[in-house]
């Protein structure tokens, strides 16, 4: 039997597109976990929340889901800022009590998921947009628009985020806050305010990632759990604080997952991310681009 080269190339392309989407999903974790050291395991729940908001608006007004997610960015930012204030006042202020902080976010994850189940039920929901059913064909390679659009916008979003973090004063302060809070205070910057902004941004990315998710696949409230392992695998592999590292790791994981799904069957795909994570933690905890 000939090796199915076309299948291989298509799987790799699908993987790259998937990876672009994973990068958007992980960007928030790279900020909250990588930079701020807040283990926000509830992030996937906020992504699902974003997806449902896109769904409601799309169903009632027929708005484009991704456009909707950009419009609700400020709301998600406020949500993130609020959560950080609670987190800071209850846990971070009293020193390193990681145990309770983790339990707090675990509780948030759980409550969000159960509330979504109570409101929407466990049926799969999907959105309508003109580009969802179309596919661009280049030779034998398929580029489905429902994957391509999220991938491109996701990379644009991460590019903008990277520019913000490296070029603006606030962005640089966010990068600095994890390294030396005292130095930041000496520059007359309030580290808590900076962290609040950063966490708000992290949660805001979840809104867009949620819209991408519902464009790519139908969702129900508990699909978020599948992403917990993925996002942390990508984040750790990408070297925690670096957005470019996150993108590379996301694309790598996307390709491997897509190849696994194509050649061994989709039921094995979830284990790939976690296998990745365990191997990375065991052998290269600093990540690909880590020092």
């Amino acid at each position: 039997m000939d090796f199915p080269i076309e299948l291989l190339i298509n799987a790799i392309i699908a993987g790259i597109l998937l990876g672009g989407f994973y990068a958007a999903v992980t960007a928030g974790i790279s900020i909250s976990f990588g930079i701020l050291d807040i283990v926000n395991i509830a992030h996937p729940a906020f992504i699902i929340l974003g997806a449902y908001i896109a769904y409601i608006v799309n169903q009632t007004f027929g708005f484009d889901p991704i456009l909707t997610s950009i419009i609700v960015l400020p709301a998600f930012f406020a949500l993130g800022a609020g959560i950080y204030q609670v987190y800071y006042n209850s846990f971070e202020k009293y020193g390193q009590d990681a145990l309770r902080g983790l339990a707090f976010f675990f509780g948030l994850l759980f409550v969000t998921e159960v509330l979504l189940i109570l409101v929407f039920g466990v049926d799969y929901r999907y959105v309508q947009a003109d580009y969802i059913d179309k596919t661009i064909r280049l030779g034998f390679a398929d580029l489905p628009l429902r994957m391509l659009v999220p991938c491109v916008i996701s990379l644009l979003m991460i590019g903008a985020l990277q520019l913000f973090l490296s070029r603006t004063f606030t962005g640089r302060a966010i990068m600095a806050v994890s390294q030396d809070q005292l130095a930041l205070q000496l520059m007359a910057v309030d580290p808590i305010r900076i962290k609040t902004i950063a966490f708000g941004i992290a949660i805001a990315t979840a809104s867009m990632a949620g819209a991408f998710l519902i464009v790519i696949q139908p969702i129900e409230p508990s699909v978020g759990r599948e992403f917990i392992g993925r996002v942390f695998a990508i984040c750790v592999l990408g070297g925690l604080q670096s957005l470019p590292g996150t993108v590379i790791a996301a694309i790598l994981l996307g390709i491997v997952e897509s190849l696994t799904a194509t050649f061994y069957g989709p039921s094995w795909a979830p284990a790939v991310a976690f296998g990745f994570l365990l191997l990375t933690l065991a052998f290269r905890p600093a990540g690909l681009l880590g020092r």
């Binding site: 976990f33 283990v39 395991i41 609670v86 209850s90 009590d97 990681a98 145990l99 309770r100 983790l102 339990a103 707090f104 675990f106 509780g107 948030l108 759980f110 409550v111 159960v114 509330l115 189940i117 109570l118 508990s222 759990r225 599948e226 917990i228 392992g229 942390f232 695998a233 750790v236 039921s267 094995w268 979830p270 284990a271 991310a273 976690f274 296998g275 994570l277 365990l278 933690l281 065991a282 905890p285």
Partner: protein, 465 residues
């Protein structure tokens, strides 16, 4: 109390629980009790690593499922020995099989313990958060493996046909219940022994400051590995008899998120630094969930668990045990006196009424057909919140709390009368009359001069003494 004496008392309590349950003789009681006991074991096991060492394990469900699936695998092996074993081995295995549940429990414990050890070995050298994330990962990896493993049923699930009767005890569910009691007694004793041994002090140093402990020569990695192994093993043991209990095991039920969240929430709510914490948390949450599952729905009971977890983590970071301990430190520094006992009882009563009210109010609000019932349910929930606040204030010795307690009790007396009038069934009349009597007694107790003195604002308290 010495450890052997503790074990004997625990065993005696366990035995009397079993005897009382038999006297009542309702099969449902055994089914519900089994679940609660299973959560006691899971919560205690989680606490050995999470509470004593401070390492969060999100993968309780994975260890639990490993235990359950090791039983399934051995059960299948037992029924098809000739197909899998070589001719020389077959008669030998046949003599040993089918394994009894205690044997299966021990095997499950060993398998899950080994997985815990391997897991810890891979990740425990890193920061604590990585361990937590890796345990989440482990759950999904194992679930994928089980889903793709046809021998134990894959995603179709596996049937285990349990015998109807067992000798001496009678019905099978009672046998399982008894085994679970035994396991809970063993787990609690183990937790208490560890807590007061060299090992436990070592764990506590890791929890408080791992770097300093390491610098002082505490073999932290070794201790952490011991903790993950014991904790994982106990969780596996809790799962071993589950297939016989449920009769049909499929991956998504064995790996259910409910196990993960409960085994974290229960110790967190009860208190993580003491063996009694997980026990209290498991009894409380376990019973609430049984009630809520019957009266409302399983989704809502998980919501209650999640909200309680968040609430406790923010308001009472040391759980119920920690709150009581802090209260006694202020209210009765030398020895526990009558006043402290009275106040603890009142606070406990308010807390239980508040929790029960939330569950009841939710069930009324969700099931209601008309807006009157919905608003009644909502009102009950609000009132219950005030009860919870009163209990919180009493334990925290806030000066406003006696007034709040008295007024909330005073409000609920006419409400109880209203309910009796609305639905004069026998149960309602008895229960609500008892609650009115208790309310009156509590209001009378709170008039006590000594109690008033305790709740005076701090500035005035100094002036009096």
């Amino acid at each position: 109390m010495r450890n052997p004496i503790f074990f004997i008392i625990a065993a005696a309590v366990g035995a009397s629980v079993f005897l009382i349950a038999r006297l009542i003789g309702n099969d449902y009681l055994f089914f519900a009790g089994y679940t609660v006991l299973q959560f006691i074991v899971l919560a205690t096991a989680w606490n050995i690593l999470g509470g004593y060492c401070g390492y969060v394990n999100f993968g309780s469900a994975a260890f639990f499922a490993v235990g359950a699936y090791s039983t399934v695998a051995l059960h299948k092996l037992g029924t098809n020995i000739d197909r899998y074993a070589s001719e020389a081995l077959a008669p030998l295995l046949k003599a040993a099989m089918p394994f009894s549940i205690p044997t299966l429990t021990i095997i499950a414990g060993i398998v899950a313990g080994l997985i815990g050890f391997g897991m810890g070995y891979l990740t425990l050298r890193l920061r604590g958060a990585f361990f937590a994330i890796a345990t989440l990962a482990l759950a999904v990896v194992l679930q994928t493996l089980i889903v793709n493993w046809d021998y134990v049923g894959g995603s179709r699930g596996a049937y285990i046909i349990r015998p109807q009767e067992v000798p001496i005890i009678g019905s099978y569910i009672q046998y399982l219940f008894l085994l679970m009691i035994a396991l809970a007694v063993i787990a609690l004793t183990a937790a208490r022994v560890i807590e007061r041994s060299r090992l436990g002090y070592g764990f506590a140093t890791i929890r408080d400051d791992e770097l300093a402990a390491e610098a002082c020569g505490v073999p932290t990695l070794k201790l952490k590995l011991i903790a993950t192994t014991i904790s994982g093993g106990l969780m596996g043991m809790a799962g071993a008899s589950f297939p016989y209990y449920i009769g049909y095991l499929e991956p998504s039920s064995a790996f259910g998120l409910a196990y993960a969240v409960n085994s974290i929430a229960m110790p967190m709510i009860g208190g993580t630094t003491m063996w009694a914490g997980p026990l209290i948390g498991a009894l409380l949450l376990g019973i609430i969930q049984q009630v809520a599952t019957v009266t409302i729905s399983s989704a809502v009971n998980l919501l209650i668990v999640g909200l309680l977890l968040i609430g406790f983590v923010i308001m009472a970071p040391n759980g119920i045990v920690g709150m009581v301990r802090d209260f006694l430190r202020v209210a009765a520094p030398e020895r526990v006196d009558l006043r402290a006992v009275k106040l603890l009882t009142i606070a406990g009563y308010c807390f239980l009424v508040g929790l029960g009210g939330v569950v009841f109010g939710l069930s009324a609000a969700m099931a209601a057909k008309n807006s009157a019932l919905t608003s009644l349910g909502t009102f009950t929930i609000v009132l219950s919140m005030v009860y919870l606040a009163a209990a919180y204030g009493l334990l925290k010795i806030e000066s406003w709390s006696p007034y709040l307690t008295k007024s909330v009790l005073a409000v609920s007396i006419p409400l109880s009368i209203l309910f009796i009038w609305l639905d004069p069934s026998n149960f309602n009349v008895v229960a609500l009359t008892i609650s009115i009597v208790i309310d009156l007694i509590v209001i009378w107790l709170l008039q006590d001069r000594e109690i008033k003195q305790l709740y005076q604002p701090i500035t005035q308290r100094r002036a009096v003494s």
